[in-house]
Amino acid sequence: MSMNVIEASGLGKRYGSTWALRECMLAIPAGHVAALVGPNGAGKTTLLNLAVGLAEPSAGAVTVLGGYPAGSAAALDGIAFVAQDTPLYQNLPAADMLHLTRNLNRRFDQHYAQARLAELGIPLNRKTGKLSGGQQAQLALTLGLARRPRLLVLDEPVAMLDPLARHDFMATVLAAAADDGVSVVLSSHVLAELERVADYLILLSRGRVQVAGEVEDLLASHRMLTGPAAEADKFAERPVVHVRRGQAQAHLLVRATVDDPVPPGWEAHPVGLEELTLAYLREPGAGALPGPARGRDTQPSEVTR
């Protein structure tokens, strides 16, 4: 599949005089579980709200599912969105939430939804407000998936859940992605699970896209170099993302592949996703974006430990 599930160009959103998102260039290809990562206030929710049509851009444009304007009928039809804290009608029983969602959509797989809730042990006659946080999240997810969307958008889906509920929730998401080919875009500031879950990473920082790409490519194009601390400055001209300096040794996250030469006295290691993400989060000025001229490598600041 070559279509982009979310495509943004020059996308900006301003609330009052503050830009929540600015000059956002983004193309998330279909068939991925894409993680939108960034510190609080980086613009994750804003970007997702723009993509699902809940917000209107102040600048630029965003299209979904291969070119439909966000919020258009075709876009709404093909996207299931589970908002932060999974808002549902607390006074309705789960069965009525199902019936309500069925009435609000062209397609609704009642059989799937009922079987799924039975499997999860969520009683249909219990009011949504009486369900646990994990069950509410699972109900919201089930309602979304029963619409048989092409894209599932999740805004901080697991932030409020305990580890077990978090694991179960993500298992449902991954099953939908693997078995039914649903593209997934989820925002999270929980980095620990990303490696298991996401195969595409978008890193937002201060309202701008800092890093975007397939996890595999990102990991293959970054190396961790370890060598004498005194020599760390030799890499000042190289595409260094982040420097972590110990007493004797320095650890440099550089943009390099496994084929790039390693200077004498230095060792190169592959990096993990969490490590890579943290390094970029610590260097909001650094960027790694697909395509030419978009990546802007700036001088790294040094973080001494």
Binding site: E56, L76, A83, A140, A171, A175, D179
Partner: protein, 340 residues
């Protein structure tokens, strides 16, 4: 954990058929049936009360008020039930406001307050159909219920009108009769819906609706209504009893006379000779109006005759309907452009 495999998705086509309107009907009913039941119970209780007291009034009027001005009528009908009828008609003024505020106010405010709009507005039906599919059936429902209630109130009011105790233009019954009551209820609902969308919280939206409604209703009753059509003007004292008197003035020699000049002239009237008409009763020869007439003043009155009642009802119903449609259109427009 195992996951069920979902059936293959149908081919995605560009020319999507929208979700049918009637599906929204179930959603609206399911989400607002409790509030609608509350309105039905409230109006039902009021109706039972009006029915019971109304029956007594009808019997009393039939038994004692033919002729209407008799002493028996004054004691057994107007004296016994008059205050109740006045209090009831004043209390009923609040009913459209209450219905509008408690049904209209929360419709959108509750969604915005609890965040469920993020669920509702990202479903396949789309915001436009969702909003229209909520507002229109609810508006029709409250208007119809209010319209039915008006029929009962007209029956309740009928002995008073028959006894000449209240004119149809009276400020306290005009908007409880005809189409006005339903129209005011619709307007209150529309105000509530818009207030909920603007304020985004249910309780403040309800309060704002009551305040705006009260302002609009007072302004209409006190200033606006009398300007719907040009009043009739008459001189002399031959006014029909059911007429709604708008204004009253005097002229002398074709020129308008100020109120202070009238007061000046009436000083002479207070010193006019009185005649004894009974053992202890004295009466001035003339009443002040005739006194002034004899002194060359012409008495003018502008009024609306009772026959203007229905034109006035349609005018009031018409502009309230237009206002309601406008407010609801504004609400829909706000929902469409509302950013999360």
């Amino acid at each position: 954990m195992t996951a069920l495999t979902m059936p293959a998705r149908p081919k995605h086509d560009a020319g999507l058929r929208p979700v049918p309107w009637r599906r929204m009907g179930w959603v609206t009913w399911r989400q607002h049936r409790a509030a609608l039941a509350g309105v039905a119970a409230f109006l039902g209780a009021l109706a039972v009360y009006l029915w019971l007291t109304g029956l007594q009034m009808h019997h009393a009027e039939a038994a004692y008020c033919h002729p209407a001005g008799s002493l028996g009528c004054a004691i057994n009908f107007t004296g016994r039930y008059g205050e109740t009828a006045i209090l009831v008609s004043i209390a009923l003024q609040a009913v459209p406001a209450l219905i509008g505020a408690f049904i209209g106010g929360p419709v959108l405010a509750r969604e915005l307050e609890t965040g469920t709009f993020r669920f509702a507005w990202t479903q396949g039906i789309g915001r436009l159909r969702w909003t229209v599919g909520k507002l229109v059936p609810l508006a029709v429902a409250v208007t119809a219920v209010a319209g039915a209630f008006t029929v009962l109130f007209a029956w309740y009011n009928q002995p008073w009108a028959a006894a000449g105790y209240v004119i149809p233009f009276s400020v306290r019954v005009f908007d409880l009769l005809g189409v006005a009551f339903a129209a005011w209820t619709l307007a209150a609902f529309a105000i509530g819906a818009l207030a909920g969308m603007l304020i985004r919280r249910a309780v403040p939206a309800i309060a704002a609706t009551l305040a705006v409604y009260a302002g609009l209703a007072f302004a209409t009753g006190l200033w606006l209504r009398q300007h719907y059509t040009t009043p009739l003007v008459t001189h002399g004292t031959n006014l029909p009893g059911s007429a709604w008197i708008i204004n009253h003035w005097y002229t002398k020699g074709g020129r308008l006379v100020s109120q202070s000049a009238i007061s000046q002239e009436l000083r002479g009237y207070h010193h006019a000779p009185r005649t004894q008409v009974g053992p202890n009763t004295f009466q001035t020869v003339l009443d002040p109006v005739r006194y002034l007439t004899q002194h060359g003043y012409t008495n003018w009155t502008s009024y609306q005759p009772a026959s203007q009642f229905w034109p006035f009802q349609w005018i009031e119903g018409g502009w309230l309907l237009a206002l309601s449609v406008l407010l609801m259109a504004a609400t829909v427009w706000l929902v469409r452009r509302r950013a999360a």
